[in-house]
Assembly symmetry: D2
Homo-oligomer: 354 residues x 4
């Protein structure tokens, strides 16, 4: 059993100090869990593109983060070291990952099975202190027991859940699919589709490193998005087009390829966020094709988590996606790597001394 740090202890944390680019490792007090909360020692904290937006202080971050000063980071796994009053479901010492969306459980959405779009959602590391730190507070209800997983894999369940949600809004087995965009979630979704029995999984990107990883994750065919993707996908599917499009790039060009490649009456999951509006010929690309488009955000609570755990148990292997494991102090290198596109997933290790 790992003991909780004594009251008054400080810890290292990566803090966004002001409403400006940058961040810094600081010594801050270890937080104390109140009723219903857990104090978790962070064993692994992987880097999401969102974290880079926050560090760079882009318009999205300016609008959503904080207020500073606040620790950021959200994909994580760690050990429960203290529990607030009433938090008795999860044992001290358990390895947990965080559902990073803190929802109110009482709004219309939360009470009708759609907590992922809660009207009053707060996101760990965006609106409340995050996990790029030695310790973090998580509401017990947001902690997912992950015994038996390596912490770095447990931390990846959060983005893996995005992929699982996007893939499983409808059936997968025996269907053809294309994943447009092979960033980490795109790569994960390739593996998800394969383990769920998709007939063929195609993938597109323009980054050769990511294209190579897509093959490694099991894609049957990886296409350069600058080539004739639509023609090739039609050819590979008896002219029918693909049944499933998982749009993971946030690129308008990829979106149009997906809409052109999807079979009439097929379905499209949109997960990659678009920084600029897309121009869509709704009549030709959506209406006359009779397709269904799903906006995907977060994870279904908790169907997605059960499913995610199950797939990992079945052997879904995320290890090939992890390109770097770095001490927290190397956060700047990590963010540069993510921004450059020359990385898979980077895991920061807050307990490791530099």
């Amino acid at each position: 059993m790992i003991d909780a740090p004594p009251v008054g202890t400080t810890m290292r944390a990566l803090v966004k100090e002001a409403a400006a680019p940058g961040a810094a490792i600081r010594e801050v007090p270890v937080p104390q869990p109140v009723a219903g909360e857990l104090l978790v020692r962070v064993e692994a904290a992987s880097v999401c593109g969102t974290d880079v937006h926050i560090e760079r202080w882009d318009p999205w971050a300016q609008e959503n983060f904080g207020p500073p000063p606040m620790t950021f980071g959200h994909e994580m796994a760690g050990t429960v070291v203290a529990r607030g009053a009433g938090a008795t479901r999860i044992a001290l010492g358990a390895l947990v990952a965080a559902e990073t969306h803190w929802v109110d459980w009482t709004c219309y959405q939360c009470r009708t099975g759609r907590a992922n779009v809660c009207q009053h959602m707060r996101i760990m590391g965006v609106h409340v202190p995050g996990s790029f730190a030695q310790y973090v507070i998580i509401p017990e209800v947001n902690a997912w027991v992950s015994e038996g997983l390596a912490p770095e894999i447990a931390a990846l369940q959060e983005p893996l859940g995005n992929a699982v949600f996007a893939a499983f809004v409808e059936e997968v087995a025996g269907q053809t699919a294309v994943v447009t965009g092979c960033g980490p979630i795109g790569l994960m979704s390739i593996a998800v589709l394969k383990i769920a029995g998709a007939r063929s999984v195609f993938a597109t990107d323009i980054n050769p490193e990511r294209m190579a990883m897509a093959e490694q994750m099991g894609a049957d065919l990886v296409l350069d998005a600058r080539d004739d993707v639509v023609g090739r996908l039609r050819a590979e599917t008896d002219g029918n087009g693909v049944d499933i499009v998982l749009e993971m790039s946030g690129s308008s060009a990829a979106l149009h390829q997906g809409l052109a490649a999807v079979t009439n009456g097929g379905r499209v999951s949109l997960l990659g966020t678009h920084s600029v509006p897309a121009t869509i010929d709704l009549s030709q690309e959506v209406i006359f094709k009779g397709i269904r488009i799903y906006g995907i955000t977060g994870r279904r609570l908790w169907d997605t988590w059960y499913r995610t755990t199950a797939l990992l148990e079945e052997g879904l292997d995320l290890t090939p996606i992890i390109s770097h494991r770095l001490p927290l102090a190397d956060y700047a290198q990590a963010f540069d790597l993510v921004a450059s596109g020359h990385a898979g997933k980077i895991v920061l290790l807050p307990q490791e001394e530099q």
Copy 2:
């Protein structure tokens, strides 16, 4: 029993004679049904916006119609007066309406319950001769027996089916809904939502005549689309937004109002066709809201038709939508009325002498 006209008889038909604006009533031979076909005496043929596009010869018509010379018109009901070989299911003398999409029944879509997006669809009055004529040929498989209905109502089952399909892609009872655009299909969908137990049905338009008809069809609240539709709909739904959006206008402004008004995790049916591409902030309007968007075209074969028949039996009343009943010879007046927006649904009567 109405006898078939003797072989060699001619009939009046509204013919698109050339690839240019205009159309003309001509005497043409009554067609003869071949194997699997019915010859139907047209009792009522209602006017769709598509017909006006064909007459006006807009870009869509230039790309899709014909080739001329060909009779157009597709919403219809009539009496079976002759049957080709093997067409024995439907009795001579029966009143039938036409499913206007002639599908191949063998493509991937047709064989998986999505014939409405058949890969080789031909549309009556667009690709094959239509029903603005005293007689028309219909494949028996496309004829929907409509005994007990007035011919003008039977003819309206085709656009009503669009409304039914759009409304019933998911459950309706107890849900709040907004119909954006009160053309004939929008008006029909108001009645469909009401009879199916929607909690509240809102409607928007900018045309006062249509707004008045929307109230007549049962809308609980009709809003001028130039007002603060989103604010009003939020206020009317405890701040949640509406569960269902039926976009029936093809207007980009209406689409954005619908996307802003729909509750997180709600659903949007797109049916109104857009003549220009729409610019959509996918992240804010679709992804982070976790909504589902359905492209709607045609009718589900034949679930929609069974449902449509049932609703008419239950008392759904389309009569208030029919603003004019005119002899076929008055087609020009009819098209002008439709184009002006000062009409509900106009029914042409090919059997009526001027």
Copy 3:
């Protein structure tokens, strides 16, 4: 605002005093709400068949109730008069009804949208003290704000929710349906099916009073269950059989009629509880017909409650079902009436002096 009774006050309650038939009105202490709980002044408490089982002390009650001494009763509505720590969502003075299933919110079922079959469910009035009393404790999470409803109608939302759940497991609009068994929930489901746009609603029973009430609730045709129900339903549905069967009787004979009357590929909701096992020819009655059978218990949390509220707002009228309104002291008369079948729904009024 109604004040909470001073600490130490007693109240009248209907108490099951021992593991034997009978019950008695007793003066017992008003309970005090602890964290997360509400103290509710009971304005209306309707009688369910379960309450009669408890009073009569039948085998089900012997196995499930208690232990005695304990107050029973569960269908209720009342005014919030005190709140335990943290129970701040619902205002003092609000009218609330109770979701009577107290679930653990953490089991596999509760975390995957199926709290109605929680693995550790406790039922108010069966496992914890009930609402045949002047005051009752309800967890705030189980309280459904019901402003604007008459208390007697608010109390009926709990069984109405059963009907709503049973009816809406699949679509209703435009479908034919039969309700087998016209007890209170059967009667409610007739109204639910009608308001949701069912094409035809048939009902069966053998009790003439209930058959009359079924007509009053809107059934299109009410059949004596001893007649040729199956033949008649086939005849009324063009030989196809009905799309929907709601089995509300718990009678094996009714079940077989429903299975025979349902159309191939149709669906059957089972809600009426069977005191003895049923003998079913699975091959002929289920497998070769390709039907779906749904076991229905409780209400979906909280989709069913939202839907139930919506239907009441739309005008679903339960008043005709309420045959008696009695002071709590007349419980024995109420139970006898329910047992006799000569009552619709009986509402007990705990605040009313005899």
Copy 4:
């Protein structure tokens, strides 16, 4: 290209000659395809339990078969050698399998996506001449092009489709499942569940040979049905019970085990036909558990066939199930083996001389 036999040619066929036990190889005329039909040279014809019932002339056969004299057999694949008028979709020389249910395509079920429960279904080898013969007639619409498959595997698509249909009525990936009964379809469904990403696949039987085959097909755990199946399945699923039950045995004991083992709110597919009625405690086994039961017969046209083809393409291997390949003349041995339970699937080869 294989030529059609000259008109007047005879062929060997296994004929049920009279309404009594037995069957005999006879020389009968090669049938001629009429409009819409194909003449198919039978390359492989596998034996179904139904065929044994027909040969043994059990009560089911007495009620359903014929009338004699008629050829039986239905699971088949073969080469198209002649085509009736209008049958132009499938090329001469193509390898096809048969959807053995000949449906009317016009009844309520056929027109609403449920042709597998057509009201006027005829089954090849039961109501019309079957495929235990050198040639057989198939409506072109019932022929499924199976190029690239071995004929013996192509023939097995028909029972494989049963397994696919039963498994895929709801999602499979990440779910736990038990298959009760390891006859050929049960064995196939194990492989189907595994390839579709089930979390764990359990199987039960009492026949050691079948239990061994279940392991070979990929079951994670095979249990003797006489042991404490329910306790073991609960233990293997964290006490929750299994998500999916595929009842493939037709045994009442297995059914009760499945109903006891399924998790609250889970789902059960019934496919094994029951020769005697089952006695079910509906309240405890179905209603209070909130489960869904699906009667499964035939295959969904044509979703199931597309899916089945896809799974075979993905690598689902049925070869281990085929225990014997015999010339048609050895039919008696084949039927005895099937009846004894000491066989997997037996393929008869009508083109092979003994």
